[in-house]
Amino acid sequence: MGRGTAVAGCPVARRPASDRFQAMDVSFDVLVVGAGCAGMRAAIEAHDAGARVAVVSKLHPTRSHSGAAEGGINAALGNKAEDSPETHAFDTVKGSDYLGDQDAIEIFTREAPGDIYQLEGWGCVFSRNAEGKLDQRPFGAAGSPRTVYSADITGHVLIQVLYEQLQRRMSEGLVVFEEYFAFRLVEDGGRCTGVICWDLLHGGVKAVTGSATILATGGAGRLFRATTNAYACTGDGMAMALRAGLPLKDMEFMQFHPTTMYPSGILITEGCRGEGGYLLNKDGERFMKRYAPNALELASRDVVSRSETTEIEAGRGVNGSVMLDLRHLGPEKILNKLPGSRELAMTYAGVDPIFAPIPVRPGAHYHMGGVETDEWGLTPLEGLYAAGEVACVSVHGANRLGGNSLMETITFGRRAGRHAAEYALGRTAAANGRAETARADAEAWVDGLLAVEQGERPWQIRDELGQSMLENFGVFRYPDKMDRQVGIIDELRHRYGRGVVIEDKGTVFNSDLTQAIELGYLLDLAACMLQAGVVRKESRGAHSRPSDFPERDDENFMKHSITTWVDGAPQLSYREVRMTKWEPMVRSY
């Protein structure tokens, strides 16, 4: 294996290659659900640890949303200026508004550099300086330039490298079930033993079983109408875990990215501001100097999103947006450093940033909350792990720093893959008694969905959900709007529960069916978010209540919200934040 980041003191059993199984009716050691950066990294690690690994994904792996990440990935390499894991940890703790678990953050920042060098060793084409060392760019709220990048296609390059490593292992027996839509977890005797999937290309409900299962299904940006997230980001893994009785953590924290293009929500990377871009209001004023005099445009994302929203609410916006101006950077810098952003602005906003500013506004971008895990990605259910955006370890707390989430997918994907493999190899194969029953149950449920002949179309509910979430549970959260939204979610869930019509009754590539299931997930998650948001009577990180609780309240709310599903509704409790050495301070930039 030979990697600097391998777990010390954990000898791993090796199985001969001939022992790997390919057939579908066989139980795998480790089953990974999702094939973005987190899922692929986990699968690679589990395979290298000797496990028989299967990956199921509703998209072909390279289509995963990780590929859309532009800006970069954070590790304290210190190539550009002095830096250390300790500084990275402090920035992350502060950025999290003291809601991140400090032990997890310390592990994260300590192991990140080794993970970056490993990616480099796999051929990742990162941008470099003139000596050939990995270059690092400054990113918001970072004490040192520590964001490793690849021009502005960092996620694409990571996905490509991970997929190649995955392919290499496919030639050694790793199995990928492409276009398999997972929609239920199988639990047997207090352990997770696999997932039930809908086979998109061939139709049919199938059970894929494993001694350990790793959820790596990504985020849930599609809850909001303006979002940077792909259509596939519907929070499936979180909803599956919730319905299996698992706790979700910090659900109310959705990060709004301050520079998403009007009107589509398509992201313009923070790299634009890292390279020196200005944010202007309708008077041409660089308004960030009033909100964050030192960090200006590079203040933490929540600070910038709130400043923009304040400007827009005060009537100093243009078309509900502000302007991202790059013109002063000059054509050469724009063409060399930010070619992808220029292309996007031209195609989706009809603006060439060399000549004109880009209209931008906050859009739902990254969900800090997720399935609660420990620092190995293990959930409270034996045999079930989660990694990447679906999980909440928590390293991001109330607010994620740009560049930390790609790093999280790699570092915690690796850790989950390692731990899951060790767990699986250390025990006899999962008892699969329940799998067939669970599959048959799930099939009956799908048949029931398809049997509905009268009622609403799912997209009507989906549109109302996205629009109302943006209006009532966006950057600023006001009590009256939240109340209204609770009512709206209740009503939408009621309408959905009455039965929506799936008009397509076919088996092959029935996206009508999967979209209807995804909508059910989104509605459950919205209910969880709202409940946690209403009860969190403070402002922290991405959760901002300017009218009634504008301050952070460490005494009452420096704690994680925990949501479980009880009798068809979310139920809230709290868990302490794990602290090591950083006492909460006022967060200003």
Binding site: L59, H60, T62, R63, S64, H65, G67, A68, E120, G121, W122, G123, V125, S127, R128, N129, A130, E131, G132, K133, D135, S150, A151, I153, G155, H156, V157, Q160, V161, E164, Q165, Q167, R168, S171, L201, A230, Y231, A232, Y262, P263, S264, I266, L267, E343, L344, T347, Y348, A349, G350, R457, W459, I502, E503, D504, G506, V508, F509, N510, S511, D512
Partner: protein
Amino acid sequence: MAVLERSRRQTNIETAGDAPATTVRLTIARSDAGAVREFRVALTQPAVVLDALLAGQRLDPSLGFRYSCRVAMCGTCAVRVNGRPTLACQQPITPDTDELLLEPLAGFAVVRDLVVDTSPFWNAWRRVVPWFMPGGPREALPAGDASRAEVERGLDCIACGACWSACDVVVTNAGYLGPAALNRALTLVADERDGARAERLRVAGQQGGVTHCHSILGCTAACPKGLDPSASIRRLRRWSLVA
């Protein structure tokens, strides 16, 4: 066959409601002979073909097509628009557009409507040993260096399959690796950190490799990311002759 209509108000998938609407008539190649082939959709500007497909799917939910990122980054949504392979999410529908013909990519078996079986594409990709094998110096490809430019030129391939669809050779020669796989091979061969140059050049030079390319440049014309796979193939050909 009836043309399905939809109102402007309902169309609003991704764009704001205040922009002017463009009404477009779509003709979509359907795999089920009985399915509706013609749709009329109204779209707010700026609009792309994916917006039209999503609007069409609301009229007929059985309409099959793939998509995800909607920003030309994931490579999922490639189709032929008026005969030309491209990304549905990147192809603008300008206000003066009246009609569009949408078909699945050529060179693949159709699964449903615009959804094709891409496995031949990925099988070819796998044949070029598409994974990096360390061998050269670690600190290489410095900023501004020619070696780096060579690697970066082909790096942004999102494996959408538009080039495959545009390639005349792929259609007639089932063993041909095709532009995307060869472009990937070139990117790895050009990387001085890689240790498998000889092996990759051997694969590229043998049966199914660079010699089959007729230099018709269909791939380069089609690439939605603006890459030049035919130039990659030419370079590979030169290098494999020298090797």
